[in-house]
Structure formats: structure tokens, C-alpha cells
Symmetry: C2
Subunit: 247 residues, 2 copies
DNA sequence: TAGATTGTTAATCGATTAACAATC
DNA sequence: TAGATTGTTAATCGATTAACAATC
């Protein structure tokens, strides 16, 4: 801890290249020194720190955080250690400071622009979700291929034809794309996005997208989540064991 | 493989109880012999098998599946091995048969009933999503606490007052609940669901729910996913390295 | 039979948790 | 100073990948 080595910027420690020789299928493993589970937890930490701050707490130890939020204290400290030093031995963490630093690590201290493709129910729900703007995530354009939808308003956004994405995003410069189209259209949409300069995709379509290694994809699949829940339900809809019919 | 031991039903091999002594915080680790990543991949396999079947293929090897869908052949076989034997050495897997068997493993060969709480944009998108019914996942009731919404229609569902959930679900017997309410209401909704007999929860609110160990929770957080994407974007909105101002 | 491919075991890899010297 | 708590290293645990005997 104390010895403070040359303080290597995390993303640069050296391209890892595990077994990823000719693997164009997996998206953007690249210089991924920080474990993905750690990154996923950072957003959770942020929420907890926000809650704790609202409760009037200004300094908190990892042990107290474990007590309050169910976050393992060791894991919390280990996760933070990928990014530097954040606390003071014997004291703990300054809540507001840590919140701001994690926000900066995630690049959420600046406004991020995003484009949306798919102006259906899901697209409408995303465009109308205030939680995005609160996190400085801004939908700046919406696209669809349905002539009936083009030109209509999706909250503050006008739905544009998908062919215009390249031109539109040349002006807007969004680097995050959200795919909220049916499965059959998703791969083509991904291609259009990448051609328009999108570097990171949040995909709601139930399909494994093929993208170049430089593009990162995260998938959200409601039916997959529900599958896992279903698995854990025992088979009987009533209280009977499986072999018996219900009554 | 060949020796065919007494064929232990997977969920029963013995309560694992790792370090889970007095840990009410983590949901339903319980008799979890099958790794969660394996369960998550089963739904992916299902989609691939569906595609492959539509392409007219009746038999496929794990190597061919790796080629087609980017699924690691070893991992695929290993994942299946938790549930029995599915293929024939020298031949491969019968596509339709494997599809049906994985569907049964996930308990998705029977209709599953679900209740929804939250009749906002997200709730509406979920209720209107045809992909659920296609997988035999049926929303059978919707609830909200907003008097302006109660009594209105959410597609085929009438929005009911949340206080009626116990009574309503006593008749319906849904065991899966979907939480699509703001963060501030989510914990209370979870409690109401559990009191109404819900055993598995899909939570869209950005909060870690406290539930009894017997209840399983899966979280979907759009902002968390976007955080991970943002992290991988370099800081410069244009092409300049971070220290320089844009032009 | 010879070739192909499974299910499973062993080896590797990575992530989580525990322990502790450093230090506030 | 004595007590508390960090950041980090080491130990544990679990998941992925490779290798191969079994067998179609």
C-alpha cells in the first residue's frame, strides 16, 4: 500500500491476450486488467454511498459498509485497490470523496451521449426513464425502420430513419448505442451502429451479436433472467411433488 | 459417462452450505449444485438450438456449435454434464431433442405465471412484450399503488391496487414476481410479494433487496450495464488524449 | 474396423475471502 | 501510545479449458 509505485494507469498495464488469438467472436476483451465483476460492483458501491451520504454519514469503514449494504468488506477494498488508494487506515473512507472518485473511474463524471434504435415499447420506456439523465447518460437520438414511427416523437426525441444514423451521429458523436429491436433486426442494427462510430452497445435483443474486438457489447435478456428463476422453482405448480397430478 | 451411476437428481445432491451461516443478505444460495454461469448459458444454448433447427439441421456436434454460435465446445459439454447425457459419441446431439430437454431442465416446458408490480413505462413494455408468452411465461396480474393507474388496462391486464396482491395471488398461484417500480418502493414491494407466495423475483429497481434465503432475486440494472460500457470508453469525447482540451 | 465425438477427469485460470503488516 | 482500519499478499474457492478413455 504505502510504497506507491509508479502508479500505472490501469488500462495500460499491458495487453493481456489470454487465449484470445483469433477469437473475433468475443467482444473487446482487450486491455481488460480490471475484472468485469469488479466493474459491475462499482455501480452498486455508488448506490450504497449515495444512500449512506443521504443518511448524513460522512465517513465509513469497509466493515460498516458490509454491515449496512451486504457488501463484503474484503471484496470492497480489493475492488478499490485496482484503481488506487481511497481510504485512511484507522479512519475509513470519506463518503462524498469516494463517491466522486468512483464516478470518475466509470467516466460518469461527464455527460455521455447515447443513440437508441427501436422505438417500440421498450425504446419508449428507456427514453422516458429519468434515471438515465440523473446519471449523466443522455439519449440524443432515436431510430427505427418503421415508416409509421419515423417522424413521431418518443418523449423528447424525434424518431429518425435508421439509414440516417451515420449522418446524424457524425454530428452528435455518441459512442454508446442501445439496441431495442426484435431479434431478427439486431445484427444489422449493430453493424449500422458500428459504422456510425458506436464503440459500446447495450443489447436487449436475445441474440449473440458478432462485433469487431474493439466494440464492447453488454446483453440484457429478460427471458434469460426468468429462465434462471424458473430453474429454481420446483416443478409442482401446486404443492404436490412432480409425479402427481394437481388438484 | 457410460457407467451410469444411480443418477442423482441434481437439486438434491446435498445442501452445500459453503460459508453461508447467518447470511440472510444473499438470496437463496441453498442447494445450488449447478453453477449459476451454467444456468445462464442454458438459455443461450436454447436460442442457438432454435436457430440451428430452423436452418434444417437435425444433428450437431459440440464442435460445430462452437463454430456456429461461438459457444466453447468443452464448456457446452461440461454444462450439459450437470444434468445427464444428451449426445452420442461419434455422432453428436439431436437438435430437437436437446432443445426439449434443456427446456424441461429450466422448467420452461410448462406455463409459468408471473405477477408484475409497477404499471409505468417499463411495466407496460414488459406486459406488451410477446417474447414472454412465446416462452410460456405469462403475466397474470399487474399491480400499482397509484390511484390514477388502478383500474386502467395494461394491455390484457387490469391494474390492481397493490394491497390486493395477497388475495389475488391466492387464486392465481404465481411464484415469480417482477418489480418495475421506483427504487424507493422496491423493498416494500418485495415484502408484499413474498407475503403473497412469490418465490423468485426479477428486480428492475436499482437497489439490493433484502429477502429471506428461500427467495431468489435476479437484478436487471440498465444503469449498471451502461456504467460498465462507459468505463471502457476512453475519456476523450473527440479524438484527443485526456490531458488536452477538445477542438 | 477406423474416425468422430461424447462425458468426464485433470490442469489451468481467475475471482473471492482471509490474514496481516503498514499506518492513521 | 493503543485501537482501528486500510491496502495488499496469500490461501481458498470455483469456473473454464484441455486432454482423453469410452464408445457410437
Amino acid at each position: 500500500m504505502r510504497d506507491r509505485r509508479p502508479c500505472l494507469p490501469v488500462g495500460i498495464i499491458g495487453i493481456v491476450s489470454r487465449g484470445m488469438d483469433a477469437n473475433e467472436i468475443r467482444p473487446a476483451i482487450s486491455a481488460n486488467r480490471v475484472p468485469t465483476p469488479t466493474l459491475e460492483r462499482l455501480a452498486t458501491y455508488l448506490k450504497c454511498l449515495h444512500d449512506v451520504a443521504q443518511a448524513g454519514v460522512t465517513t465509513i469503514s469497509s466493515a460498516a459498509l458490509q454491515e449496512m449494504a451486504g457488501i463484503n468488506a474484503s471484496q470492497f477494498r480489493k475492488d478499490l485497490s485496482y484503481f488506487g488508494e481511497f481510504g485512511r487506515p484507522g479512519v475509513g473512507y470519506h463518503v462524498a470523496d469516494l463517491h466522486d472518485r468512483i464516478t470518475a473511474i466509470l467516466h460518469m463524471d461527464v455527460d455521455q451521449r447515447m443513440v437508441l434504435v427501436g422505438a417500440g415499447n421498450l425504446g419508449a420506456a428507456l427514453a422516458g426513464y429519468p434515471g438515465l439523465t440523473e446519471e449523466r447518460l443522455h439519449l440524443v437520438a432515436a431510430f427505427d425502420n418503421d415508416p409509421a414511427k419515423i417522424g413521431r416523437k418518443l418523449w423528447h426525441l424525434e424518431v429518425r430513419p435508421i439509414e440516417s444514423m451515420g449522418e446524424v451521429n457524425a454530428a452528435l458523436g455518441a459512442r454508446i448505442g442501445i439496441i431495442a429491436v426484435p431479434r431478427s433486426a439486431a445484427q444489422a442494427v449493430a453493424g449500422t451502429m458500428i459504422a456510425a462510430g458506436i464503440l459500446a452497445i447495450l443489447n436487449f435483443a436475445p441474440i449473440i451479436l458478432r462485433v469487431p474486438p474493439a466494440v464492447l457489447v453488454r446483453n440484457v435478456s429478460v427471458t434469460q433472467e426468468l429462465s434462471v428463476l424458473c430453474y429454481h422453482l420446483e416443478a409442482a405448480p401446486t404443492d404436490d411433488p412432480p409425479p402427481h397430478g394437481g388438484a
